[in-house]
Amino acid sequence: MSSTEQGTSSAAPAEPTTAPESAAAPEVPESFYYVHGKDKVVHKVSAGALQHSALIHGMISNLGYTEEQAKANPFPFENIDGDILQMVVDWCNQHKGKPTPPEDTNLPKQKEKLFDLVLAVNYLEIKELLTYCCKQVAMMVKGKSPEEIREIWMIPTDAEDEAAEKEAKKRAGKEAAGETAAAAGDAK
C-alpha cells in the first residue's frame, strides 16, 4: 500500500514516501511515477502497478523519464478526489503482477464513494477494477423492489425525464438565441 504526504498547491510536488513493494527485491530496478488527485497529495507508484491503468500505461510507455524527471512531473488527475485516487493506487499496488481474483470484497460500501470510484476507474481505464465495481453496483439492487431500485439509483420517472428534456430544449433555444444576438452585435 502506498503511503502519502499531504501535498501543497505549489508547482513542486510534495516529497512522497515510497510504497512498500513485494518482499522479494526485483532484480532490475523498477521505475516509479507520480500521480496526484484533486487534493494534490502525490502518490509514488511503480510502473508495474500502473500497468493496470490503460490510460496511465499509455502515457508513460514512451516517456523514458529518469527518477528526477518523473518526480518533477507528477500526473495530475484533477477530476479525481484524493481519497478515491488513494483507493485506486492501493488496488493497483495490491494487484501488481498478480492475476486478479474473481471477486473483490474490499470495495467501498457507501453509495457515493462507490459511484466516484466507478467514474475514476472508468477514466483511468482499469478494466478489472471497473468490472468489480460494476458487479458491486449491480448487487446493490439485487432483491429490491422497483421503487427501491429507483431510489438507490435515482432513476427519474417518465414525467421527470420529459420535464428535463423540455428544460434542456428551452435552455438550448435560449443559448442559440443569445449566440445569434451576440453575433448580430459583433456584426454591427
Binding site: L114, L119, N122, T131, C134, K144, W153, P156, D161
Partner: protein
C-alpha cells in the same frame, strides 16, 4: 448514486452483471431505462432462445422463465396474495397496472420475472399483457411457450405463443375432449404424458404426434402410437411392454422414408425387464462400421431440457447403423441394457464413414 451519470459503457457493464429478474424490474422504471436495456443487452438477449410461462422454474441458461400459475396452482397464488399483502408492488405492463411480488427461489433457480397476482377471470388478460411486453423486449425470433396441463382451460391464441403440455392420462375418460383440447392448442411444442393402462386410440392425424418433442411413460406402444405416427424431432418413450416386432417396424419405416422424416433422436426404454433382443438389429438390416475403429458419437442438443437437467441427448456410440433409402442419411442404432437408442445424423453414409478416418 445516479445511474444516468455513468457513461454508457459503464451502464452496460452494470447491466451485464445483473440477473434477468433485476433487469426486468429496472425496465419498468421508465421508458428511457427500457430503451437503454434493449440497446445495451442485445448480445445477451441473442443467447435466449425461449421464454417459458410456467409454474416450475428449471435450469436452462437459454430460457427465460416467467412464473405463471395454471388452473390448480392459481389458488396457491391467490392465497399467497392474502397472506403477504405488503410484498406486492404495482407495475404497468403493456398499459395495464398489475400487482406483482418478487418471486421465490425455486428448486434450481429463481424465476426471471416478478410473480403476478390476479383473479382467475383475469388470467388471460394478464398473460396477454406480459406476453406483449416480452415480445417487445426479445422480439419474435424467440420461442414463447406456455407450459400447461390438460386440465387447464386457458390456452389463449397469442402471436408466437406455442404450448408445452404435461398430463396424466390415467384419469382420462373422454377422448373427444382430449382431442378437442389438442386441436385447440395453437402450436404444440412439447408433450410429456403418463398413460396408465388406457385402451384408447388416437387418430393418426392427431396433433399430439406433431409435437416437436415428446416424452411418455406408457403401458404399450399403441396409446399413444408415437412409435408409429410421430412427426416431430425428439422422442423419449418408456414402455412397460413392447414387442421386438414393433421396434423392427419403426426402424424399417424410417429406413424406407415412409415416416419420421424430421426425427433426430428416439430413446425407447423397456421397464418390464425384458430388454430388446439383438435379433432386432439383424431384422432391420443394420450395417456395421469397422470394428477396429472407434465409432462416431451421436449426441444432440435437446429441444427441451427437462427434469434431468441434461442439455444433450445421451451419446450413442455404436458400430451399428442404418441408411435411409430416400436420401442416404444415416442413423446410429444401439441396444444397451433395456434401451434402444436411435440417433439420426445429418450425414450421408459416405460422410458418416469418413468420420472414422
Amino acid at each position: 448514486m445516479k445511474l444516468s451519470k455513468f457513461p454508457r459503457l459503464v451502464q452496460k457493464e452494470i447491466l451485464d452483471n445483473m440477473e434477468m429478474l433485476d433487469i426486468f424490474l429496472v425496465s419498468f422504471l421508465s421508458k428511457n431505462m427500457k430503451k437503454m436495456i434493449k440497446l445495451s443487452q442485445i448480445s445477451r438477449f441473442k443467447t435466449i432462445n425461449r421464454v417459458v410461462y410456467g409454474y416450475y422454474p428449471f435450469q436452462d441458461n437459454r430460457a427465460v422463465v416467467i412464473p405463471f400459475p395454471m388452473a390448480e396452482h392459481l389458488e396457491e397464488f391467490i392465497k399467497r396474495r392474502k397472506e403477504a399483502k405488503n410484498e406486492y408492488f404495482q407495475l404497468n405492463v403493456s398499459g395495464n397496472e398489475m400487482d406483482f411480488r418478487l418471486p421465490d427461489k425455486g428448486k434450481y433457480r429463481l424465476y426471471d420475472f416478478p410473480e403476478a397476482s390476479f383473479d382467475k377471470s383475469d388470467q388471460e388478460s394478464v398473460l396477454k399483457s406480459i406476453h406483449y411486453y416480452l415480445l417487445d423486449f426479445f422480439g419474435d425470433s424467440v420461442d414463447y411457450q406456455l407450459s400447461t396441463n390438460y386440465y387447464a382451460h386457458l390456452i389463449p391464441k397469442l402471436p408466437h405463443l406455442s404450448v408445452c403440455v404435461t398430463f396424466n392420462l390415467s384419469v382420462l375418460h373422454d377422448m373427444k375432449s382430449f382431442e378437442d383440447f389438442l386441436s385447440s392448442t395453437p402450436v404444440l411444442k412439447r408433450i410429456q404424458m403418463h398413460v396408465c393402462g388406457t385402451k384408447k386410440r388416437l387418430s393418426p392425424e392427431s396433433k399430439l404426434y406433431q409435437a416437436e418433442y415428446i416424452r411418455t411413460i406408457q403401458h404399450d406402444p399403441h396409446f399413444p402410437a408415437v412409435l408409429r405416427h410421430f412427426q416431430g424431432r425428439q422422442a423419449f418413450l418408456s414402455f412397460a411392454k413392447c414387442e421386438d416386432l414393433e421396434l423392427i417396424e419403426f426402424v424399417k419405416r424410417w429406413k424406407s422414408g415412409e415416416a419420421f422424416q424430421k426425427l433426430e433422436y428416439m430413446k425407447i426404454k423397456m421397464t418390464d425387464n425384458k430388454p430388446p433382443r439383438y435379433e432386432v438389429l439383424n431384422a432391420v438390416g443394420v450395417k456395421y462400421t469397422d470394428k477396429t475403429k472407434q465409432p462416431p458419437t451421436h449426441t444432440l442438443a435437446k429441444v427441451f431440457i427437462t427434469g434431468d437437467c441434461k442439455p444433450y441427448t445421451d451419446p450413442i456410440i455404436s458400430h451399428s447403423y442404418v441408411v435411409r433409402e430416400s436420401d442416404n442419411r444415416v442413423a446410429s442404432v444401439s441396444i444397451h441394457r433395456n434401451e434402444l437408442n436411435f440417433g439420426v445424423w445429418n450425414k450421408t453414409e459416405d460422410e458418416f464413414l469418413k468420420l472414422m478416418d
